[in-house]
């Protein structure tokens, strides 16, 4: 390859195909990352629309805009789309694909073609979900948990949606295998495990959960087929099966999946905080190992979703205890991030604002999670809107704000264009305030006894529902400002050619903006950790020399 082509940005690089085909058949990890970004944004928008409509329906007791059946399909679609098509693939598939090879000094992932296959499976799975809306029978109305026996009895297109989840599972497994292999085999010379950036550590822990836990949801689906086709009673009590077995198998995957969703966001925050505090991260190894601890313990707590379902006392005891223990590595991370601000030189650029909001919102999500770990308390609040508030604080306040932070941090690097910072700050405040107004009332009404997945509600909960719905409008205003601002920046934002936009020390800031097709002209030799900030020590050293 001539030196000319190596200097071409990946956006202009001309491979075997031109135009659209140059993207959808590209095996370049950066182009695949961008394609995930586009697809995930479309699905996110769809999820937001369903969420918005749900909140609108709940503005008044009784019917406001739609029937109960339609409302039930809204919350199912909102859940399925947000979880399987946005939160699970979000950070690893978009920013992991784009930056993982760059952060470890590699030219691509270990299996580029497998990577492209993952994207195709993802799009096919997503298309199936959307197709289920249009086909006769109507979209699934089971909630994203597909609990048997209701999911067997309903006439809606459940099997479509479950099959979509099955395909999306394979996309997730393949990405996981790809990342584990890439991290093991493709680190640049000199990059030992403890010289890896923390985002890489979090992707590594995530990838292992994807590989180990996702097959279980696949097997569960096959068991449903076996039950339906051969009449073997597994889950359906009408055939002599046990519905609780289905719940166990569902959560054995779906609880670790929660950590697939949050760990990469923790990784993003671990990248952003040292850059904008301009100092070394506090407790690098503790943050890295707490990711692994979360992955291990997080795989053993699934049955805390079922404390009211009826389990042996021993089961309740163990699952409650482990649930409390998994809180500790999360707490360690929060303490270390906070300590990283100490004696830093903090600049509150938009990515930092989102990262700090992440810590606040995630802390509320985590602490309310601890409340549910306590058996007697959980019996009262499980299946109420308290749970809905809790997981939106973790999944949206956590992962969602993690995605927003990553967008503001990395998008200028990916496209060589800077967004309008004033618009970014106003979007931030709309999002932050709107988010809390939307979800905090759900804690209160949940504690007061408002069950979740309710189309209608008793009059005493009206005020909380109305505050929450107003919050959804504020939040959506923020989303519109943010996405418009980012989109416009790609079109006519100020051009950025500086390699190091924010003053970071990880490898992506040492290559061209936007990156060239090959990332690195020469594979770098790594001699230092990712957040050394030696310039901070410079003056001190000089002073010592003078003395």
């Amino acid at each position: 390859m001539s030196s000319e082509t190596t200097h071409v940005s990946y956006l202009e690089y001309q491979g075997r195909y031109k135009g659209l085909r140059g993207w959808i058949f590209s095996t370049d990890h950066k182009r695949i990352g961008i394609m995930y970004l586009i697809a995930a944004t479309v699905f996110f928008a769809a999820g937001v629309v369903f969420g918005f409509l749900m909140r609108l329906e709940l503005l008044y007791p009784g019917k406001t805009i739609v029937s109960a059946q339609t409302y039930n399909t809204f919350f199912t679609l909102h859940g399925v789309i947000m979880i399987f098509l946005f939160v699970i693939p979000g950070l690893p598939a978009i920013f992991g694909n784009f930056f993982l090879p760059i952060l470890i000094g590699a030219k691509d992932v270990a299996f580029p073609r497998l990577n492209l296959l993952s994207w195709w499976l993802y799009v096919i799975g997503g298309a199936l979900v959307l197709l289920s809306i249009l086909l006769p029978g109507g979209p699934a109305d089971t909630g994203w948990t597909f609990y048997i026996p209701y999911s067997v009895r309903t006439g809606t297109n459940v099997i479509f949606t479950v099959f979509a989840a099955f395909i999306l599972g394979f996309s997730s497994i393949l990405t996981g295998i790809n990342f584990v292999t890439t991290i093991h085999r493709l680190r640049a010379p000199g990059m030992g495990w403890f010289k890896m950036p923390l985002f890489t550590w979090s992707l590594y822990a995530t990838a292992w959960i994807q590989v180990l836990a996702t097959p279980i949801i696949g097997i569960t689906l096959l068991l449903i087929v076996v039950e339906r086709v051969f009449g073997v009673g597994l889950f359906d009590p009408a055939l002599g099966g046990d519905p609780v077995l289905f719940q166990h198998l569902f959560w054995i995957y779906s609880h670790p999946a929660v950590y697939i969703m949050i760990l990469p966001a923790m990784g993003v925050v671990s990248e952003i905080i040292p850059v904008f505090a301009h100092r070394t991260i506090f407790g690098y190894k503790f943050i890295a190992f707490s990711s692994l601890a979360i992955a291990v313990f997080g795989s053993l707590v699934w049955a805390h979703h079922m404390f009211a379902a009826g389990m042996s006392d021993f089961g309740q005891f163990v699952f409650s205890l482990l649930t409390f223990l998994v809180a500790i590595p999360s707490a360690i991370k929060v303490f270390n991030w906070t300590a990283t601000l100490y004696k830093g030189s903090i600049s509150l650029e938009p990515p930092m604002a989102f990262a700090l909001a992440f810590i606040f919102l995630f802390s509320i999500g985590g602490l309310t999670g601890v409340m549910q770990g306590a058996l007697s308390v959980d019996i009262h609040i499980t299946d109420t809107s308290f749970i809905v508030a809790h997981f939106h604080y973790v999944m949206f306040g956590g992962t969602g704000f993690g995605v927003f932070a990553a967008l503001h941090y990395w998008l200028p690097k990916m496209f060589g264009r800077m967004y309008n910072k004033k618009a970014a700050y106003s979007a931030f405040w709309f999002l932050f305030i709107g988010f809390n107004v939307l979800y905090f009332p759900m804690f209160i009404m949940g504690w007061l006894g408002m069950p979740r997945r309710y189309y209608d509600y008793l009059p005493e909960y009206t005020i909380y529902h109305q505050i929450s719905t107003v919050g959804s409008w504020i939040l959506i205003t923020g989303l519109i400002i943010m996405f418009t601002n980012l989109y416009l920046s790609l079109k006519r934002g100020k051009k950025v050619t500086a390699r190091n936009i924010w003053g970071g020390e990880t490898l992506e800031w040492q290559i061209e903006t936007p990156p060239t097709y090959e990332n690195f002209e020469e594979i770098p030799l790594i001699t230092e950790g990712p957040y050394e900030y030696k310039d901070n020590d410079q003056d001190i050293l000089e002073e010592k020399e003078v003395v």
Partner: protein, 222 residues
């Protein structure tokens, strides 16, 4: 806080309150520190940062303190849970049948009712059966919730310690009218309860006689 109308409500609320206080303390601590650091170590005020790689005693400290706290929380939750799952032997037994989208309560003497009538200060053990899909028997003021699952024998129990009417809701999504699967617990004094039960029994006997008459008439007509 919502009304406490059952024997163990205070222990549930106590556990919740303890965790809530600890949580608020840590949230205020973390948020306070972040805001303080943002102000104190702002780039304008503090252009020269200091590298600190970590501090082992601090790491150990903030691992041990949360561990101890969560173990206490765990114990609170576990002992409270044991109370919720250990009904006394002399409990009054009632069968609760859930079906899309109604509750039915059957007493030992065969009397059935749509609402749950119980005497105050008497342990009640509710056996939960579902005729179709999963439901969940939820009374917020009693702090109890138990899934009602077809093919499973779940139960719950409580001692209502205040006369009054309380909400029953279904808390496990069960289809179209899930949010309308509501009813009431009506807690009566012991006397009122026996009067109610007697009326129900009389009603039932009358009906039995009436239906027996009908059958007789029909056979005569034939």
């Amino acid at each position: 806080m919502i009304a406490q109308s059952v024997n163990y409500a205070h222990s549930v609320d106590e556990a919740f309150l303890f965790i809530l206080i600890v949580s608020v303390f840590f949230l205020v601590l973390i948020t306070g520190l972040i805001i303080t650091f943002i102000i104190k170590y702002n780039r304008k005020k503090n252009p020269k940062p200091t590298n600190i790689h970590g501090n082992l005693p601090l790491e150990i400290l903030w691992t041990i303190i949360p561990t101890v706290l969560v173990l206490i929380m765990f114990w609170y939750g576990w002992t409270g849970y044991k109370e919720i799952t250990s009904p006394p032997d002399d409990s009054m037994e009632i069968d609760v049948t859930a079906q899309m989208w109604v509750w039915k309560f059957t007493y030992k003497n065969g009397i059935t009712s749509d609402s749950l009538y119980i005497p105050v200060n008497r342990p009640v053990k509710a056996h939960l059966t579902s005729l179709d899909v999963n439901h969940s028997f939820y009374i917020p003021e009693f702090r109890i919730k138990k899934d009602v699952i077809p093919g499973r024998k779940n139960f719950t129990w409580f001692i209502a310690d205040k006369v009054g009417k309380y909400q029953i809701l279904c808390a496990e999504y069960c289809g179209l009218n899930h949010s309308y699967m509501l009813n009431k617990v009506i807690v009566l004094t012991a006397d009122e309860f026996s009067i109610w039960m007697q009326e129900k029994l009389n009603e039932k006997n009358n009906q039995d006689t009436v239906s027996a008459d009908n059958i007789n008439n029909q056979s005569v007509a034939k």
